[in-house]
């Protein structure tokens, strides 16, 4: 994937006076779904504002698919942004809101009507399109925000907490929509504090704390690189005691803990790949293994290990 197809940040820092936004961030984000995760004040919004050209870096360079923020006319055609906060012009219906803001992109009245209708249909708000936004529920407001971000068919979508307030059905539909956009070759950058959702939807994650990127990449790759925390593997089997004595013979196994209900074993190992390879041999003697699954190969664990007890942003 060439850099002209990626979002690239080269040693980017942004300070607000003496307040640090982000510091020395170097990233190359390919198309797909990328999640930004971090506690309050970690720099997620600054990073998103940098990606959307709303904030210029104090130091460093940014390119959004090869376009610099110094070319805003080109950049803003490329980017769709949905902020976390509700911000709607007063008195407009959902349709008027989308259609009027499309006019800023230079679409004719007819084209903006067509695009607005399409965007509203994509987020499932067609029936409520002619109602005033002020009368919308939180979930509907969230969806109309999403519609304004996608209405001009951008290549890069930056969405701040896009799943907040959505009911389970709409949430699943929205995630499917993200997946479809990503599969079409677009960038979908989302921030979320619901870590299991991040796990579910992301191709890659960027973990931030205190304005610094502490990890980025695919979850499994990031987890593998955290050497100081052995990988945890959960094994469901009929003879956990026997299996525990076997696995302890392996020098890379740090601990083996029988589950309180006796239904299996939680193993900590420094070399998960080797452990998986050896597990077939370890379980030969009539030990029935029902399932083997990584227990901490997810965003939640990575977050806990790298950022620790800091509260996830809400």
């Amino acid at each position: 994937m060439t850099d002209s197809a990626n979002i690239t940040l080269d040693n980017v820092s942004r300070f607000y006076g003496e307040v640090l936004g982000v510091n020395r961030v170097t990233l190359s984000i390919p198309p797909g779904i990328t999640s930004l995760v971090g506690p309050n004040g970690s720099g997620k919004i600054t990073l998103m504002n940098l990606m959307t050209g709303l904030v210029r870096p104090t130091y460093g360079e940014i390119r959004i698919r090869g376009i610099a923020p110094s070319e805003p006319q080109k950049l803003f055609h490329l980017v769709g942004y949905s902020t976390q906060f509700d911000s709607f012009p007063k008195g407009l219906t959902g349709f008027q809101f989308i259609q009027s803001f499309l006019r800023f992109f230079g679409y004719s009245s007819a084209t903006s009507l067509e695009l607005a209708g399409r965007a509203i249909a994509q987020v499932g708000l067609t029936e409520a399109a002619d109602r005033k936004i002020a009368a919308y529920s939180k979930g509907m407001r969230q969806r109309i925000k999403l519609a304004q971000a996608i209405a001009h068919d951008p290549q890069v979508l930056v969405l701040d907490e896009p799943l907040n307030g959505l009911d389970p059905l709409i949430r699943a539909e929205t995630i499917a929509l993200f997946r479809r956009w990503a599969d079409e070759g677009r960038h979908v950058v989302v921030s979320s504090h619901v870590l299991h959702e991040v796990d579910l939807i992301s191709d890659r994650v960027i973990l931030l704390t205190g304005g610094y990127v502490v990890a980025e990449g695919q979850i499994h790759g990031v987890r593998t690189e955290i050497q100081e925390h052995p990988m945890e593997v959960l094994i469901r089997c009929d003879q956990p005691g026997a299996l525990a004595s076997r696995v302890f013979e392996q020098e890379h196994v740090v601990s083996a803990q029988i589950l309180p209900d006796g239904s299996g074993l939680l193993v900590q190992t420094r070399d998960a790949d080797r452990f998986y390879r050896q597990l077939n041999h370890l379980a030969l003697d009539n030990i029935q293994i029902e399932s083997v699954a990584p227990a901490d190969d997810n965003v939640n664990s990575v977050y806990q290990y790298l950022i620790g007890g800091e509260e996830v942003s809400k």
């Binding site: 197809a5 607000y16 006076g17 307040v19 390919p30 198309p31 797909g32 504002n49 959307t52 050209g53 709303l54 904030v55 805003p72 006319q73 803003f76 055609h77 980017v79 769709g80 942004y81 902020t83 906060f85 509700d86 911000s87 709607f88 012009p89 007063k90 008195g91 407009l92 009027s100 803001f101 006019r103 800023f104 992109f105 230079g106 679409y107 004719s108 084209t111 304004q148 001009h152 068919d153 290549q155 990503a182 599969d183 079409e184 070759g185 677009r186 191709d203 695919q218």
Partner: protein
């Protein structure tokens, strides 16, 4: 790593010219203003004095009307610089009140609702935002100041004839320039102060307060320090000085024309600075 194919197509159809896009904001600005009946009625009410002036011009040239009430034509005030100077004072004051009502309606909700990222994550600049908002004020204020002023000039010209018009063209240019400068200053003050206060009523009060406070402090400074420099912070005095010069009507003001222009320019610069500081796509919460 998922393999993503670039399967979508960008829009390649025609677009409207970039320079015209601020009008989108102006259009919705008018909708926002006239959604409020009070503002609509007040705007209409602001045309009462020009109507009175138009009636005066017509009736003062109507011999049968003058004869009916035995009014000697030569004793009636002439439609001259003095006439338009007082017209400017009345309409200028109404323009100021309208600014205090309309300015906050245009800008404050955008800040109160955090709408700035919404505008600026589109191909729409801060200058275009200001142009879109200020154009609403400029058009509204023009409709109650220099445009009816020119209509009065045209009525007078049509009655008095070609010679009067050619001999008094300077009056037309004074009406346009004097009142246009004033509404530009008012619009900038209205937008700049409204951008800094999230509460509409508070923003309106601030716009009103700036001029009243300026006049009050100016008078206090003059009285306490026995100078005339206090008038420099009284924008109404500044405007009257410029109008008296433009309409060639001596009001006995002690403020120099240069000082008056400098005050207006400095006021505009301060307002633009306030707007530049405030109208940003993001907000830093400290």
């Amino acid at each position: 790593m998922a393999v993503h194919k670039h399967t979508y197509k960008d829009y390649t159809g025609p677009r409207t010219p970039a320079w015209s896009r601020f009008l989108v904001l102006a259009r919705f600005g008018f909708a926002r203003v006239y959604h409020l009946k009070f503002l609509f009625l007040f705007s209409i009410g602001c045309l009462f004095y020009p109507l009175v002036c138009a009636a005066y011009i017509y009736l003062s040239h109507n011999p049968s009307f003058l004869a009916l009430f035995s009014i000697p034509a030569d004793r009636l005030p002439h439609v001259d610089g003095r006439f338009f100077y007082f017209y400017s004072i009345v309409q200028g004051a109404l323009a100021y009140l309208l600014t205090a009502f309309v300015g906050p309606v245009l800008v404050t909700p955008d800040f109160a609702n955090g709408a700035m990222p919404l505008y600026f994550s589109r191909p729409f600049s801060r200058a275009e935002y200001v142009a879109g908002r200020i154009s609403v004020l400029l058009i509204l204020l023009s409709l109650i100041t220099w445009i009816p002023g020119l209509v009065l000039f045209a009525i007078q010209s049509s009655i008095e004839g070609w010679d009067w018009m050619t001999g008094n063209l300077w009056l037309a240019s004074a009406i346009v320039s004097g009142l246009f400068v004033w509404i530009v200053v008012l619009s900038l003050i209205g937008l700049a102060l409204s951008a800094w206060v999230r509460w509409k009523i508070g923003a309106g009060a601030l716009v009103l307060g700036v001029i009243f406070a300026g006049a009050g402090f100016g008078a206090a400074i003059n009285s306490l320090m026995r100078t005339n420099y206090g008038a420099l912070i009284d924008l109404t005095q500044v405007a009257h000085t410029i109008w008296s010069y433009l309409f060639r009507y001596d009001t006995g003001t002690e403020m120099s024309l240069t000082s008056a222009w400098i005050v207006l320019v400095v006021t505009c610069v301060i307002c633009l600075w306030l707007l530049a500081k405030r109208i940003r796509p993001f907000e830093v919460i400290k």
